[in-house]
């Protein structure tokens, strides 16, 4: 069992967390967003092998946050509250 650090609750069991996608994948704004831009936002993922910046939810407290971790050895480098632009 791995512990993930929630910026609000501290280290908690991995099974309390839910993966929320790439950090920085922002919803396209405006009324003239093309189908391919929408599709890219909805479906395309970086899915990097190695260091990865991601959005996660701690389901217990319901907060979204940013977590930087390594997808090969599963170590966590940092976790932080989301900046206002990413809420």
């Amino acid at each position: 069992m791995q512990l993930f650090p929630c910026p609000f609750c501290g280290p908690r069991s991995e099974s309390e967390f839910h993966f929320g996608g790439d950090f920085g994948n922002l919803r396209p704004e405006g009324s003239d967003v093309s189908a391919s831009e929408w599709s890219a936002y909805l479906h395309l993922r970086a899915n990097p092998k190695g260091s990865s910046s991601e959005v996660w939810m701690h389901m217990t407290c319901g907060e979204l946050f940013r977590m930087d971790r390594n997808t090969v050895d599963n170590t966590v480098n940092s976790s932080a509250e989301l900046e206002d632009t990413h809420r």
Partner: protein
Amino acid sequence: MTRHYSALSLLKEGLNDQRGWQKAWRSPEPAGRYDLIIIGGGGQGLATAYYLAKNHGITNVAVIERGWLGGGNTGRNTTVVRSNYFFPESVALYDMSLKLYEKLSLELNYNVMLSQRGMVNLAHSPNDLEMAARAVNAMQINGVDASLLSEAETRDLMPLYNDSPTARWPIYGSVLQKRAGTARHDAVAWAYARAADRLGVDIIQNCDVTEFIVENGRCRGVRTSRGDIRAERVGMAVAGHSSALAAKAGFRLPIVSYALQACVSEPIKPALDCIVLSPSTGVYASQSDKGEMVIGGGLDRIPSYGQRGNLPVLEHIISGLLEMFPSFRQLRLMRQWAGIVDVVPDSSPILGESPVPGLYLNCGWGTGGFKAIPAGGTLLAHLLATGTHHEVSRPFDLDRFARGRLIDEAAGSGIAH
């Protein structure tokens, strides 16, 4: 040298101290140029090479594998082959595959040990049973064998299933696909490798593709740990590593890589004749020819390239299994492992040209591409040979995401595998 496998050649080589067997495939040095290159020596890549030679007469082909043949998901899967899907597009693909499996041992002169013992998808409530009837109707309309079994008929097939009146997952009935079964995973990879090699394909192991050669926006070959290799077209069948290679070519895919785990018990006497899946626990099991219980379940919940799998999911799978078969509590687990699978939002594969012209994709099989090896190989071979889609692969093009034409089998058939 003995090449053909038969009772007669077994006898001959038995008398000859087994000294005359020819190697199943060569280990050639990579040439600098081929007509076509396939990255990935799993079942999908090796089948592609075979069908390029067999169906299209193209033999100046290399399969480039970073490790050893079948060392990826092909050699790690729980070997269920079936075509009990919901949407017509999926049934066309997976039943094409099952039909090819049915004659594969003869065609390739290699026993892939296909065992069509039937697969049972359980219904645990009256509502489940209604959905089961809907699934059976869909399959029959799509021309695939399927039948709805009653509780008694289902229990006949698995006498060890939990019959306590307080069981958490009681049986109300089930869906049976009789033609579904298992096949030996390594044998499928080796059979295609041997047949492709014999037709002239170069199979190159221990060769890591690190970059693509792109000229005027077109893929012209690959850079590898053993030098540059050029080709007219390149096919890529690297499963969980598709995003990592796509990044080298400068594009993203609708894929997230997760570990999928499986485990086997110690061997026991025959106790389970069919493959059984509970959609509610996500657990499925079958008994191997050696007698081991082969057990699988849902995906890990954390995207990962670490080929291990994590404990909470394994615990979930085992507790589901014991709820279904309480007597399995006595079994000792012999091995547990994981493979990195390429998960797509609609649980359907991606087949077609990539955003870089000349580079073709066979990926996104996720938790269920072993059953699809013969069809996936046939379809990528068609794409590489002709530059155009086969009618069966057309719906699975990458363009379905922007067109909103997803083929959502997670919702359709409710099965992850």
